[in-house]
């Protein structure tokens, strides 16, 4: 018995490690996020208060022609200069000018940042989505209608979510070809519902992770700060959903963004009541089309974890334990070599992403501090200049004061450049963080696959047990001539169960195959997306560094030139 135990002892730890690394990366991810969001606070804050950025007064806002695209209307381009620091526009950039127009790095794509305030350089993908605008704004405090048990806990915030769809995609069905704008009010709980629905309906897809509930933050942070953080997180989240080729076109998403009034998607009932109900029907009927081919015994296509069926939970748990400890080869195992390789690769990638994202945060902080210290040096020199000028007795003092002032001005300028550079760096390197977040989605898609496999395995071993019992009964009854009535009845019952289970198994296998297919497609899509994103990130990062470094060099070169008479031999 030792053999298998040892073997399994080697098998099980990786899972735990994986869990740990997940938890770790999650923590670091949120730390990074908070660092990222705290640094360019000025930028995101300004986007909130800027009247130009508020949704236009008319909700149904027709755009003259579909050709105008992103930055076509004049309001957009003027507003973009508000958002972006005076970046590359005024930098002489001749050798690279020709390439500026793509990848979100050039000024043309920068206009997109009006529409996507996080403006990571992904406008290329955004262009493929049905939406040309998604904005979350106007947080509004509301009173809970149902009396809450917790005193003071009866308020919540709703956010105005405004979307404009690309021409021809609007859901009003009358073939109208002009883009249409929608505005709905949603609260965070609705977003949770949306993400739960999506997770149920799109197993195996890499569904962008939703922002954390962050109960602690809501208590620690200042109300305004928290609301603003949540607002921008929601906006980012919705954009990510919109950019997803399948989710972005899903009915759930559309309903969430377009249905007036209360969110029609039913809220997920809590675990206890789900247990009591045994099963919850999918909300597919809401859309009246049963979009995806849902198969009959719906329970099997849903993961057991949600607690729909106590018995099934226990069964699958038993199966999992058998798989791990029993040393018995399950009847169906993951055999997709390519997938396993890919999975390992993704784990490696996640680790590298996590460390790169951490280092990016450190880098950004260091860049921020150097800018701040440069500013403080400048300030100190300004004070010194003032002091020397006031106290000056000799002309040499006045000369020195003038020199000091020169340096002070340069230091202050440099400090500002560092800060602008850093805001841009944060924007670009945020891609790392975003992809780290997506790794969570990948992992949950993979675990959907594992749990679907587990369901299949459970059903198969159930079948095996049932068949054995039937065989036994048949063998027993065959010994008695003419048959044993009760036994025959029992066999009939069992055969019926087997038939149902076979059906269920068929569904489960189909579901498993579907998830596998989704996994594969999603992996390919993600690979491509990541390449594009990384390329844009690198490009944006590097272009910024070059542009701002050139500016810094100019600032200091001027000072060096002005003071060159102090070098002996030059005078």
């Amino acid at each position: 018995m030792m053999g298998p135990e040892i073997a399994s002892g080697f098998d099980s730890p990786p899972e735990r490690e994986e869990m740990e690394s997940l938890a770790l990366s999650d923590a670091s991810a949120s730390a990074y996020r908070s660092a990222m969001s705290s640094i360019p606070a000025s930028i995101s804050a300004s986007s909130d208060g800027d009247p130009l950025l508020a949704p236009p007064p008319t909700l149904h806002f027709p755009i003259s022609s579909s050709a105008s695209g992103h930055g076509g209307n004049p309001a957009t381009s003027t507003a973009s200069s508000f958002l972006d620091p005076p970046s590359y526009a005024d930098v002489v950039f001749s050798p690279f000018d020709s390439h500026n127009g793509h990848g979100g790095c050039g000024s043309g794509a920068d206009n997109g940042s009006l529409l996507r305030s996080d403006s990571s350089p992904r406008s290329a993908r955004a262009a493929k989505s049905d939406y040309i605008k998604i904005s979350v704004s106007n947080p509004h405090k509301e009173q809970e209608t149902a009396n809450s048990l917790v005193p003071g806990g009866g308020t919540y915030f709703t956010y105005l979510i405004t979307t404009r769809m690309r021409a021809g995609f609007a859901a009003n069905g009358d073939g109208e070809s002009e883009p249409v704008e929608f505005g709905v009010r949603r609260r965070f709980r609705d977003v949770v519902t949306l993400s739960d629905r999506l997770a149920e309906a799109y197993r195996g897809f890499f569904i962008p992770p939703r922002p954390d509930k962050s109960v602690v933050e809501s208590q620690v942070l200042q109300k305004n700060e928290f609301v603003e953080q949540r607002r921008s997180a929601l906006e980012k989240y919705l954009w990510r959903l919109a950019e997803h080729p399948v989710i972005g076109k899903s009915d759930e998403f559309r309903v969430f963004l377009q249905a007036k009034g209360k969110l029609p998607l039913p809220t997920t009932t809590d675990v206890a009541s789900r247990m009591l109900d045994g099963a919850v029907r999918l909300p597919k009927q809401l859309f009246g089309e049963g979009a995806a081919a849902q198969v009959v015994p719906q329970e099997v296509v849903q993961p057991a974890k949600g607690g729909r069926d106590l018995l099934r939970i226990f069964k699958e748990l038993k199966q999992a334990v058998t798989n791990e400890w029993g040393g018995v080869k399950p009847l169906l195992v993951e055999e997709d070599k390519e997938f396993l390789e890919k999975k390992e690769k993704m784990q490696d990638l996640e680790q590298q992403l996590s460390s790169a994202s951490q280092q990016a945060e450190v880098l950004v902080n260091a860049q921020q501090s150097i800018g701040e210290t440069m500013g403080e040096i400048g300030l100190a020199f300004i004070k010194l200049t003032k002091f020397e000028t006031e106290e000056a007795v000799y002309s040499s003092q006045r000369i020195r004061a003038a020199d000091t002032k020169n340096v002070a001005t340069a230091a202050v300028k440099a400090s500002r450049l560092y800060r602008e550079l850093n805001a841009q760096t944060v924007k670009h390197l945020d891609t790392l963080h975003e992809h780290l977040g997506l790794m969570l989605a990948v992992n949950s898609a993979f675990s959907e696959r594992t749990s679907a496999l587990l369901t299949v395995q459970t059903l198969m071993s159930d079948l095996a047990t049932l068949n054995t019992r039937v065989d036994k009964l048949e063998a027993a009854s065959s010994k008695i001539f003419g048959g044993d009535r009760s036994r025959l009845h029992k066999i009939e019952e069992l055969r019926e169960t087997i038939r149902v289970t076979e059906d269920a198994k068929g569904c489960a296998i189909r579901e498993y195959e579907r998830i596998k297919e989704n996994n594969r497609n999603e992996l390919n899509r993600l690979d491509q997306e990541r390449k594009d994103d990384f390329l844009s990130m690198l490009k944006g990062f590097v272009i910024n560094q070059v542009a701002y470094s050139e500016k810094l060099a100019n600032v200091w070169a001027t000072v060096a030139e002005d003071t060159s008479n102090y070098v002996r031999g030059n005078s």
């Binding site: 020195r400 390329l535 560094q545 000072v559």
Partner: protein, 478 residues
């Protein structure tokens, strides 16, 4: 950096002093325009042969060589070759010059008693010196001796400050600390050598010319017999005057009330505050450069690994970005060092100079008090003498002698006080001019370093950009 002549001191400019720099001795210090002594390579320690001390890590020291821009330019113009009168630095026989370099720090001794010794090279054509070139070995405490002697003898002159006594034990023998101190000591002796009054001091000559044993003897003689009692005596006197002040109801000791002097004091105290703050920020700026360098290097490594996950040619772009990050990290560390030596250190020196001015304030206050007291007593004695004269007392003669002595003493005190005032008035002009030049240079080197760093950064990333462009073209993005 220009001082890195690689042993073959190139003439930077015909009108400037030549920098003799040999990498292995990192003598990037001001040396003068006479015959350029070229030590054969390997002769680094020949003077230190007494103690076979392990040489300092030459590789770490080598990278410090480039910092000497500031130190080199610190030699005030008057000891440089005459600007216009004689354009030939190689024939200095005409113009008098005195140039000193402090070089070759070597760690001697072990444990607690370990110390650094320096080679002090003097080159001069001044007749009062023994010869055109003299080399002695000195340690930090010898410099302190020179400083204290001058401070004692030349009251009112702003004695060039010494670098701080000791850093944290951990850093005491770090290459960077040693190099910074060497540079500061070099500036210290050269400032003395270029000072119109100080350069004539006997103590300077002793310091520059006596062999090590004689130096040791002089110092131990003074500290053992002479110096300490003098200090004690001064202390007694101070306590005494304070006591009498209190007894006589003089709450405050007599102070000068010259408005101009008041203004100067106010200025110096304010200046000290501002400079201390500025210097503190400069220290932080150095630290920030190091931190940014560090994080860039870590970032570069992480990016490389991330790129390895991508594999294909995009991975190569990542690798390129990663290695440039690491390269820039080194540049940042270098700039941090440049900042430390050429920007932070001059600011610190500025603070030290201001503190040395404050020392002369207290000398002046003491001299003023003595002058007042003696004038007062002389007056009393004079009145007394007149009284005695009227009374035709027998004591008249005695009193007259006493009065004469006191009067002489009083006049001497007054003269000393006036000398201090005169010196300080001259010194403050010198100080302001010197600091304008020195800060101008520090500003220049600061700006130059920052500009160079920024240009390096721009260049490095620009080269990555070409790789990115190439990649996006090849992979059909666009």
């Amino acid at each position: 950096m220009s001082a890195l002549g690689g042993g073959g001191g190139a003439l930077r400019n015909a009108s400037t002093a030549l920098a003799i720099s040999s990498t292995e001795s990192f003598a990037g210090t001001p040396s003068c325009h006479t015959k350029r002594v070229r030590r054969p390579p390997g002769s680094f320690y020949w003077l230190h042969a007494v103690t076979p001390a392990p040489p300092l890590d030459t590789t770490t020291l080598k990278q410090l060589v480039f910092v000497s821009d500031y130190a080199e330019s610190m030699i005030p113009p008057e000891i440089g070759p005459p600007k216009s009168s004689s354009q030939s630095p190689r024939s200095p026989s005409g113009a008098p010059f005195l140039s000193i370099s402090v070089t070759d720090p070597v760690k001697l001794g072990n444990g607690v008693q370990a110390y650094i010794s320096y080679r002090v090279i003097t080159k001069t054509n001044l007749p009062e010196f023994q010869g055109p070139e003299k080399i002695v070995i000195r340690r930090y405490s010898d410099f302190v001796w020179l400083h204290d002697k001058l401070a004692d003898k030349y009251k009112g002159i702003f004695i060039p400050p010494l670098p701080e006594k000791s850093a944290v034990e951990k850093f005491r023998f770090s290459a960077e600390f040693i190099e910074m101190r060497r540079q500061a000591l070099d500036i210290f002796v050269n400032r003395i050598a270029s000072h119109p009054e100080l350069k004539q001091s006997e103590d300077l000559k002793t310091f520059l010319e006596e062999d090590e044993e004689a130096m040791e003897r002089i110092r131990s003689f003074e500290t053992g017999i002479f110096k300490k009692p003098a200090d004690l005596l001064q202390m007694f006197k101070d306590v005494q005057t304070k006591v009498t002040d209190v007894v006589l109801g003089k709450e405050k000791p007599v102070e000068e009330t010259d408005p101009e002097y008041e203004k100067l004091k106010h200025y110096i105290f304010g200046l000290e505050d501002h400079l201390t703050e500025t210097q503190k920020q400069a220290v932080r700026l150095v630290k920030r450069h190091r931190e940014l360098g560090q994080s860039l290097s870590e970032f570069g490594k992480a990016i490389k690994l991330l790129g390895a996950c991508e594999g294909d040619s995009l991975g190569k772009v990542f690798a390129e970005l990663g290695s440039k990050s690491e390269l820039l990290s080194i540049k940042l560390q270098k700039e941090a060092h440049n900042l430390l030596m050429n920007f932070e250190e001059p600011l610190k020196d500025y603070v030290r100079c201001v503190q040395s001015i404050k020392d002369s304030f207290s000398h002046r206050a003491n001299a003023f008090r003595l002058h007042c007291e003696l004038t007062e007593t002389t007056k009393l004695k004079e009145i007394n003498l007149e009284k005695l004269n009227l009374m035709r007392s027998d004591k008249t003669r005695e009193a007259e002698i006493e009065y004469r002595e006191l009067k002489a003493e009083s006049e001497e005190a007054t003269r000393r006080f006036e000398t201090i005032i005169k010196r300080m008035n001259e010194e403050i002009v010198r100080f302001q001019e010197q600091k304008t030049a020195e800060m101008g240079l520090a500003f220049h080197l600061f700006a130059k370093g920052q500009a160079k760093l920024a240009n390096d950064i721009a260049d490095a990333w620009r080269s990555v950009l070409t790789k990115i462009e190439a990649y996006s073209l090849s992979s059909g993005h666009d």
